[in-house]
Amino acid sequence: MNAADPPPLLDAVGLGKRYGGLVAIESLDIRLDKGRVLGVIGPNGAGKSTLIGLLGGAISASAGQIHFDGHDITSLPASERARSGIGRTYQIPRPFLDMTVEENLAVAQFSLSPFVASGTAAAERREILDRCGLGDAAPVTARDLPLLRRKRLEVARALALKPKLLLLDEVGAGLIDSEVSELIALIQSLKDAERSIIIIEHVIRIVKECCDDLMVINFGKVLARGPTTDVLGSDEVAAIYLGTSHGAAARTSTAVAPRADVASSMASTEPLLALDGVSAGYGQARVLHDLSLSVMQGQVVGLLGSNGAGKTTVAHVISRALPITAGRIRFDGEDITRLPAHAVATRGLAHCMEGRRIFGSLSVEENLLVAARRADAAERKTRLERVYALFPVLADRRNAPGTSMSGGQQQALAIGRALMAKPRLVIFDEISLGLAPVMMDRLYAALAELKREGFTMLVVEQDIERALDLADVAHIINKGRITLSGPPAVLRADERLRHLYFGTEE
């Protein structure tokens, strides 16, 4: 190191985190100088939030060392790291719900300096709230804030710590464009010679306009790093964002043609699944707005969108894991809007959930059989053999505990489990999440085979290319609304697709 250079504010070396057999972050190095803004991007499940947790102290590292401001903070708990000047926000805001907005900030102030003069503290709070656009909300209870303002409160609360390093975890997700612009202005106003910021983000616009440097991570490893414009311009990064088969090699279309007989029968009959004006959300955050969608018998429908667009919420409302606030859902002509989840399942609607949700205390085979409980023994055996033929690795591991396998194998198990009920429609939610490309290829090959057999599928996916290869028709969902629909070929040609994904539409 050159003696003239000041030491970096943050110097993390060989950072690693594993959960059992699963590697979330692997020997990752980050150096950040005072006053710099570093962006971290990568697909869902790449390890971004784990990284924030490791730096903020919420997650303890399995390997590596973190130096901050000249001190080794590797073994310090979260509270001590916060006191030494690391402030973080949560991806899903976690304000102190029963306290006012102003009190939320006071927590940081009073824990740091219990005897600060109340006038000074109040002035500081006012300044931070004004800056974050919460000036009018000081006496409001945090519970009564809508999602966007809760996100602002996350930033404001972290600022009350007067952090030297600010960690922003996807503060832009789910915001509309004007809100993103406001957010960018806020982040830019925070930049000064003393404060460093790490921004984890899906909204590329924020990264582009705020970050000096950019780091791309996938599978817990750094794929690229450098000045923001250079990194964003590279094909490799585009491939990660638009899908791993986006490269030229994959252009040899693996697309599966719709079966002619199915296509002809589609026009006349009623859809198998129909969502009509559906709205839904979590608590006060409304995620879906008046969304309509239908899936015909034998059709493969793709539902695409970036992180936080509302894709998984659609999957959840269909399988009744989440109640809807308005609208109607019909399956095979029957209104299933008010049915409990298990009753929907018995009507032949299977849902391969995001995050796999494998039953850890059941073996691989039990995981499969529990989904086919209603069938007789012979039928169960037939279905089991069918799934084992599709994924031979499951047959090899049939007696192992479900969660002891690798991520890809677990995903295969989740797909197999959804098929075991002999469903009439399957929702596949983000089956490519956090998987290596070779494993994704295998899973999508299986889905293509199912399509040839005439399975009706709703494929919810972040990886555009893979989904477009498979689907008969696709919808792009953005901020809880369907913004673009059509056959894959048409969508591919549409410039708006790329814009929607990168958040650059005007």
């Binding site: 306290m99 009190e103 927590v107 009073f110 109340s118």
Partner: protein
């Protein structure tokens, strides 16, 4: 009850003015101290019981309502206070004040010693841990002959009469009220509520959650121990099943849930209700407890914020003041 006085709520009546509140509190406590001089003996007895219950409930509310620590171990500290007080009175000839102070100190030490293990248990498991602690202490006292075994001990020193005990209890209540005022209306209260709402998020803004919880736990334990000491002096005798009885864990919990968990006046309202029902059913103590159980189940289901919560909702609905939500 905002700590940050910058924003005075619109519905601030004269009652909410700090000086008025201090004056009102002063007058009520003066009245309380004077009360035994002109109250009939029966009411002094009831009053003593009521004061003791309010103190226990305030302490429990501090833990559960303001710090998120739902304890079923109040009886450990209550019994400990009783035994330490009686032990000191009998063996050292110390004054009552000194004995009570010592029992508070011992209780804080026990709380400190147990905190490492208990605070590792989050949520429900903390509750079970405190219950186990109370039961273990009771069995220990039953079995170690030094503590008088199952039959217990008598206080050999001269005992003050109930009037004086009433005043002591009133003083203890003053202390408890001051503690609660601090816990609900100071900078510390902001930290306390942050830990209750979201311990992890609180750590991320620099709150040392362990210390905050420990402070609340030690203070509550000290209050409970002094109450236990007073009760022992009142009875003139202690025995493990009485002093470490599960009722000393159950009653404060029931009082606070009835009155309103995390509500400033929850303990007082709940204690008055609880003692009144207890007096009405004085001849049927089992029926009293069973009815308390039924009230608990109903309130948990229908009014999680207890009587104070119901009252507040009713006032809000009828009152002309507009509520600052949204």
């Amino acid at each position: 009850m905002s700590v940050l006085t910058t924003s005075v709520p619109e519905r601030s009546l004269l009652l909410h003015h700090p000086f008025v509140r201090v004056a009102l509190s002063g007058i009520s406590f003066a009245a309380l101290l004077a009360a035994p001089s002109f109250l009939p003996a029966y009411f002094v007895e009831i009053g003593f019981k009521l004061l003791l219950y309010i103190v226990l409930a305030e302490a429990w509310n501090l833990l559960a309502g303001y710090c998120g620590l739902v304890s079923l171990g109040s009886s450990s500290f209550f019994g400990l206070g009783a035994y330490v007080t009686v032990g000191l009175l009998n063996h050292t000839g110390s004054g009552i004040g000194l004995a009570l102070a010592a029992s508070a100190l011992v209780a804080m030490t026990l709380a400190l010693a147990m905190s490492r293990g208990l605070f590792r248990l989050r949520g429900l498991y903390f509750t079970v841990g405190t219950l186990a602690l109370a039961e273990a202490l009771r069995l220990l006292v039953v079995n170690v002959p030094w503590f008088g075994g199952a039959t217990g001990l008598f206080v050999s020193a001269d005992l003050p009469d109930v009037t004086e005990l009433f005043r002591d209890a009133a003083l203890l209540l003053v202390v408890a009220s001051l503690v609660m005022t601090l816990a609900t209306g100071s900078r510390f209260s902001v930290l306390l509520r942050a830990v209750r709402d979201d311990e992890d998020a609180a750590s991320q803004v620099g709150v040392r959650a362990f210390r905050v919880k420990l402070a609340a736990f030690m203070v509550a334990s000290a209050l409970i121990a002094i109450a236990g000491g007073l009760q022992a002096i009142k009875l003139g005798a202690i025995e493990p099943y009485g002093s470490f009885g599960l009722q000393w864990s159950v009653d404060p919990l029931a009082i606070v849930i009835i009155g309103g968990l995390g509500m400033r006046f929850g303990a007082i309202v709940g204690a008055i209700f609880f003692v009144a029902i207890g007096e009405l059913l004085a001849d049927y103590p089992e029926l009293h407890v069973a009815i308390t159980g039924i009230i608990l189940i109903i309130l948990i289901r229908c009014a999680p914020r207890g009587l104070c919560g119901l009252l507040e909702t009713a006032l809000r609905r009828t009152g002309p003041t507009k509520v600052a939500s949204s």
